[in-house]
Symmetry: C2
Subunit: 357 residues, 2 copies
DNA sequence: ATTAGCACTCTTTGTGTTTGAGTGCTAAGC
DNA sequence: GCTTAGCACTCAAACACAAAGAGTGCTAAT
């Protein structure tokens, strides 16, 4: 059943107002809006119908109306106005992003912090890999007489390293043998392939330096797993306290602990097959604990076969338009940034102008 | 002016009770304590005097007494009983710590989380270096035709790496030259030595592969600076909400934002020259914002010329005895753990028993 | 020196009472 | 027919006021 234009307009006004004030909206407040040419009685009738249809709710008889989940849904899907980012906003986002980011985990932390700042809500960021990573090459560098550095080059252009103390004096030639064996047997494998059987075979083949193999294998598995698994960061939990719905400390605490935990760890998975910006309104949420909150999230491209995701968590009554706009812009800017060729050994021109209309 | 034994006993009881209940303590409550053989009137007199001496405070005429800052000070310095950790507590701390910790920053995050868990308060952890780090050796590994991996071995046994895209085809021999030049000129230096002058000299000496020098130098400086600077992590901010004094969201929010910021960054510095466990009571605190809170912190040894610090932030009415005990034990355990020789290539015996009476 | 006793203070708690925003419905108006 | 003015009704929030209770300081008795 389609809603009349007028009903939509009323619904939209209610949601807009409620987002602004966090207080139930009465019929009078609606009539006072510009270009609302009906009397409060008419609005009351409309609101009564919207209530029976399930788009609005009444906390108690003599209160105004509050959007129900279905109301929010309709609002985000159809009714809300596009929020236009101001030049200020885009600029501050750009400036924030342009600092160089080193490692993925640090990057995620930073991004989460930035998003949280930009939206004034708790934010999550995550990165995950499409396929699985494998080792492309092993390299052993003698550091000094008693230690050697293992360098692992991965299929995704990343590099990991570890210092390994040598149990006994080991000859340079032994290390070369070991290196050759590693490259011959352990490249292109996933952590699952690292069986006890393989371990034994490699150790036998490695000969003198075979004692190093268990450490190497363990470290390698760790790195691969670490790279394969979803990496994520949360920032700005305390911002929830700024929201009137969480003035009640108990409520806030409950959500906070959920935020800290792994209830969020399936959010990235949800984005996996989605495109664009996704809004989960209240009860549509994954975790039961989040049924009074909404989640807005979107993807961005990291390159190197990695997929990023940013999102924020907030009260169902959050400013979807603004949040969605900022998030999308963030995602876009991040994708652009990662798409830029690594600022390589180009002698000068370290600085590039970033202005965009 | 020394306090009489009885006054001390009363003061101690007041603080103990207040720590437990978070409510002003009345004379009657004190008399009900075991081995308190005086009547409430006597206690009242004592409390009145303690109040005029500045050890206690009265929220209002008909309320009980609350410890004043001086009272807490005396309490932590002289009066509080040693808290004996239960076997359970030591064990759970040990188990928590024994997981392997990889990088320093990850380690700090984990430690902060653990400490926060153990104390049920927000925790900070930090690590800083005694001297300054320098590069011991540079190594360049050709990864494929268009990229090379820079491996930097530092004076503290740590290793950093970075993938550098080559601007143009570069010969293996050029890289060898570059490597030699780097090792000859840029080892043993601090970031401050990396002047434009040095850059030019190295670039000239490096010849064909000189274009890589700026990137290398920048990265090196970054790594050295990163290693030199104090690294820190905060965890469990939300635990503050569990404390009755922060049921007022505004208060909580204020402290929280202070926690997040760099007001804490001078805490590690304070520990620098201190030994053992240090307690900052309320107004003794560094940041004005923390005047209603206390900080307990202690040092631990990371080895490799690094110094660690853990601390917690909480209401002035926190259980100093318990917190101090847990913190000290944590610090001890951590020091022990880092003192253990790196679990190197010893073929088996991966597991060691940890039981201690 | 200690303590019982008591008047006094001031917060907390409870209880009606009032207020006012907002509603649903009916009947009049366009 | 839709719209709107009007009105009785509901109910949370705000207020005022009283009573309760915890704790004190002081005095006088032990």
């Amino acid at each position: 059943m389609e809603l009349t234009e007028r009903k939509k307009k009323v619904l939209r006004s209610v949601v807009d107002l409620y987002i602004r004030t966090a207080e139930p909206v009465g019929s009078k407040a609606i009539t006072e809006l510009p270009d609302m040419k009906y009397s409060s009685a008419t609005i009351r009738n409309e609101m009564a119908e919207l209530t029976t249809m399930g788009y609005l709710e009444q906390p108690h008889t003599s209160a105004g109306r509050v959007p129900a989940a279905a109301g929010y849904r309709l609002y985000v899907d159809e009714l809300m106005a596009d929020y236009r980012l101001s030049l200020d906003e885009t600029q501050s986002i750009n400036i924030a992003i342009e600092e160089k980011m080193q490692r993925v985990d640090k990057m995620l932390e930073k991004v989460a912090k930035l998003v949280s700042q930009a939206t004034d809500l708790p934010a999550i960021s995550a990165a995950s890999r499409h396929g699985s990573t494998t080792v492309r090459r092993f390299e052993l560098i003698a550091a000094d007489v008693s230690s050697v550095i293992l360098v692992i080059m991965l299929s995704d252009e990343q590099v990991a390293n570890k210092v390994i103390k040598l149990p006994v004096q080991t000859l340079q030639s032994d290390l070369q043998v070991l290196s050759a064996v590693l490259n011959a047997t352990m490249t292109g494998l996933t952590p699952d392939d690292f069986t006890a059987d393989l371990l034994e075979r490699v150790m036998n083949a490695a000969g003198a330096a075979g004692a190093l193999v268990p450490v190497i294998m363990e470290f390698t598995a760790e790195v691969l797993r670490g790279h394969g698994s979803t990496n994520m960061a949360v920032a700005g939990q305390m911002r929830l306290l700024g929201q009137p719905e969480y003035r009640d400390v108990d409520k806030a605490q409950k959500i906070m602990s959920t935020l800290d935990e792994e209830a969020l760890s399936n959010l990235p998975a949800i984005m996996q097959n989605q495109n664009g910006t996704k809004v989960l309104v209240g009860p549509e949420n994954v975790a039961q604990e989040l049924k009074d909150t909404s989640v807005v999230m979107t993807k961005f491209d990291i390159g190197d076969g990695m997929q990023g995701m940013i999102g924020v968590v907030g009260p169902t009554r959050m400013d979807y338009a603004k949040v969605t706009a900022r998030l999308s812009y963030f995602a876009e800017s991040l994708s652009k940034m990662f798409a830029k060729p690594e600022q390589a050994a180009l002698p000068q021109s370290a600085e590039e102008p970033h202005k965009e209309a």
